[in-house]
């Protein structure tokens, strides 16, 4: 019989200074898993390390190793840290709580940014690393596979992962609704400040044909253009650049609009009325609102983009209940499946053991009753079998039921295992259990 444990910390329980000390890089994780395997050869382990959390999932025999304290020591020893520096930030989970926690993590319900889908890939990577190290066995293997599936299910069946959470990504999303490809498009940035940098970073990922940075300070424009493989252009020739541009990001500090309706109107003809996406993220605005009234001109200011971000946040918050319901139902289903898997062999052993006892007693009794005919012998044999079945029926029924919330009726199974000697005698002495609250 196996036990599931989790030890970890995350953005809610530990500050960045603590998280970064306990974080594992890819190579460190491999090293740590191998060290874990060497120290606890009979246990399974998955190490999940992201920028927001470090979690060690362990599957082991009920009386096996490691215990929680040993897991804390393992993390401290690997990072050469004093355990007291992070012990207060740790959380511990056992059995069904672990399943629920992992499913919530994979569904991004426990993430800093609700609905971020990156976590599914990170859970998958952690599981793959454990598998490669030979540390994912018959307990963590189904658990993590299910967790990844639950994460995907939540993303597809709810809107928790829909929408964009930054002004820059919303701008790119809108650009994608206007233009199909960007290899033949020109992105023009008017201004070279922080906001322009943020938005250009997203647009540079689209690999546009040309990326122009137009700023009064040409040196600043050159610096920003170099960063994204673009070209700095003179502010005096802004009209020419507007004719060439398909996407314009404007974020200057000008107190008056740079692009007025009167200025843009003659440029439309020179542009041959091509569609243009204007993103005005300046305050006060750089582009006159009237420019957006022209055909094939799509003008968005910071309020328009911010509104989408706010709506995304609201939608994501509203879909939390639906996501939690999916997680809860999956936890129950997994617990039921796990209970069946744990109980099956145990119950078989129990029945076999008691039928064996009954059989030997029956043989002894039948030896003392040589005059019984075949029918009478069969009746006595049936009697013995029925008594065993009746005696075991109630305890087995209770075991199967569990308590409805845990993966299996673990204390009951453990007691059954020990009382009837269903497993090999445990090597762990009574002292091993002392102080381990995870039992």
């Amino acid at each position: 019989m196996r036990r599931l444990l989790l030890l970890g910390l995350n953005h809610a329980t530990a500050p960045l200074e603590v998280r970064e000390k306990l974080a594992f890089s890819g190579s460190q994780r491999r090293e740590a898993l191998l060290a874990f395997k060497a120290r606890f050869p009979d246990a399974e382990a998955v190490l999940l390390s992201t920028c927001n959390r470090v979690e060690l999932y362990v599957g082991r025999a009920v009386h096996g190793q490691p215990r929680m304290e040993a897991m804390v020591e393992f993390l401290a020893a690997f990072h050469n840290l004093d355990a007291s520096r992070f012990r207060g930030h740790l959380y511990e989970r056992a059995n069904a709580e672990v399943v629920e926690h992992l499913f919530k993590v994979a569904s991004s319900l426990d993430s800093m940014v609700l609905g971020e889908s990156q976590i599914i890939g990170q859970v998958r990577e952690a599981y793959d690393a454990a598998r490669e190290a030979g540390l994912a066995g018959n307990m963590l293997h189904p658990l993590f596979q299910r967790a990844v599936a639950v994460g995907r299910q939540v993303m597809t069946r709810t809107v928790i992962g829909d929408g964009r959470l930054s002004v820059a990504s919303v701008a790119v999303e809108y650009a994608r609704r206007i233009f199909e490809q960007f290899a033949d498009k020109t992105v023009l940035s008017i201004g070279a400040g922080k906001m322009a940098t943020l938005v250009l970073k997203h647009f540079a990922d689209l690999k546009p044909g040309r990326l122009l940075v137009c700023n009064r300070d040409l040196g600043k424009a050159q610096k920003l253009a170099e960063r994204f493989g673009g070209m700095a252009v003179e502010f005096d020739r802004l009209d020419d650049h507007l004719v060439a541009a398909d996407v314009v990001v404007s974020s200057t500090g000008s107190s008056l609009p740079i692009l007025t309706r009167a200025r843009f109107d003659p440029l439309r003809r020179l542009r041959r009325y091509r569609p243009i996406f204007l993103i005005d993220i300046a305050l006060p605005r750089d582009i006159e609102a009237g420019v957006g009234d022209f055909d094939n001109v799509y003008l968005y200011n910071i309020d328009h983009l911010q509104q989408v971000v706010s709506e995304t946040q609201t939608n994501r918050r509203e879909s939390v209940d639906a996501a939690k319901a999916i997680v809860a139902s999956e936890v129950t289903a997994f617990a039921a499946w796990h209970r069946q898997r744990e109980l099956g062999p145990m119950i078989e052993k129990l029945y076999a053991r008691w039928h064996e006892v009954a059989g030997s007693e029956l043989a002894r009794t039948l030896n003392k009753l040589p005059n019984l005919d075949a029918d009478q012998r069969k009746a006595v044999e049936d009697l013995a079998r029925r008594i065993v079945n009746k005696v075991l029926h109630e305890p087995v029924r209770r075991l199967r039921q569990g308590d409805g919330a845990t993966a299996a009726n673990t204390p009951g199974l453990s007691a059954m295992e020990q009382l009837f000697g269903l497993n090999e005698p445990t090597k762990a002495g009574p002292d091993d259990e002392a102080g381990d609250t995870s039992q």
Partner: protein
């Protein structure tokens, strides 16, 4: 003349397309991705039924040219349109394309059931007629697609201009929609031009050129369609007719084409 069985099968195709469209709409509006498969299977079954009708009808009348009467010409048009949508959805899905094309497909099938039953007649007299009808019907399919995509363009453009925060169904980028619309119009325009030329040739050959033939509404409507689509085709070159205006023109062109079909169906041959 189609049999009752053929009409029944045609109506089954109508029901399947209607059901498929409803599933597709419900999938988008109620956010139920699970309805994608039923929607697709309904469309496949609908196409299957319509093709079965064509085959049955062809066997029944002993000819395999699907342009000889209203019944199989309209059914053939519907099948071509449906196959086009299924092809696009398989190669590079465009959410919502079926919502805009299925109504036309359904109307064509209903038209086949009604006009095919009421006015059976044989069209194909010679090779010019076959080319004339094949190119005209092919052009009609292309214009129907252009009109559907034009409608999608107008909706997508309006959503962008209104800065709708809810993303809604992904109808594809305006650039893709405009490209698809222009491609359809290019193909339709070429076929319509062939149809026009062969139609004129046919009229001369058949000696149908009467003193007032140029004033017939069918001819005027066809020329108007030709001019509208010529304008749409020149949209990338002519400054004022890009984007929304081109989309609106493609819809107007399709409406004129439907008008031509109605004229052909209901007016006496002498007036046409």
């Amino acid at each position: 003349m189609p049999t009752n069985g053929q009409i029944g099968l045609l109506l089954a195709a109508v029901a399947l397309f209607t059901l498929g469209g409803a599933f597709s709409l419900a999938r988008a509006l109620r956010d139920r991705p699970g309805l994608r498969a039923p929607s697709r299977w309904c469309a496949i079954a609908g196409v299957g039924c319509a093709i079965a009708v064509l085959v049955w009808h062809s066997i029944h009348r002993g000819s395999w040219v699907p342009l000889e009467d209203n019944f199989d010409a309209l059914t053939f048009l519907a099948v071509m349109l449906a196959l086009f949508v299924m092809y696009v959805q398989r190669v590079r899905p465009l959410a919502g394309l079926d919502w805009f094309v299925w109504p036309t497909v359904i109307l064509l099938l209903i038209g086949a059931a009604v006009f095919g039953r009421v006015r059976p007649h044989v069209y194909t007299e010679n090779a010019w007629s076959v080319v004339h009808r094949a190119s005209s019907y092919g052009g009609a399919v292309a214009f129907a697609v252009a009109a559907a995509v034009g409608s999608m363009y107008l909706i997508a453009s309006r959503r962008l201009r209104n800065r709708t925060t809810h993303p809604g169904p992904n109808m594809g980028s305006l650039e893709r929609l405009e490209g698809l619309m222009l491609h359809s119009v290019t193909l339709g325009f070429a076929l319509l031009t062939i149809g026009l030329v062969t139609g004129v040739v046919r009229m001369f050959r058949e000696g149908a050129v009467a003193a007032n033939w140029t004033l017939g509404p069918k001819i005027w409507l066809t020329v108007a369609i030709w001019l509208v689509y010529a304008l749409v085709l020149h949209a990338p070159m002519t400054s004022g007719f890009r984007g929304r205006k081109a989309a609106m023109l493609s819809i107007v062109g399709f409406a004129l084409m439907v008008g031509t079909v109605v004229v052909v169906q209901f007016m006496p041959r002498s007036v046409r």
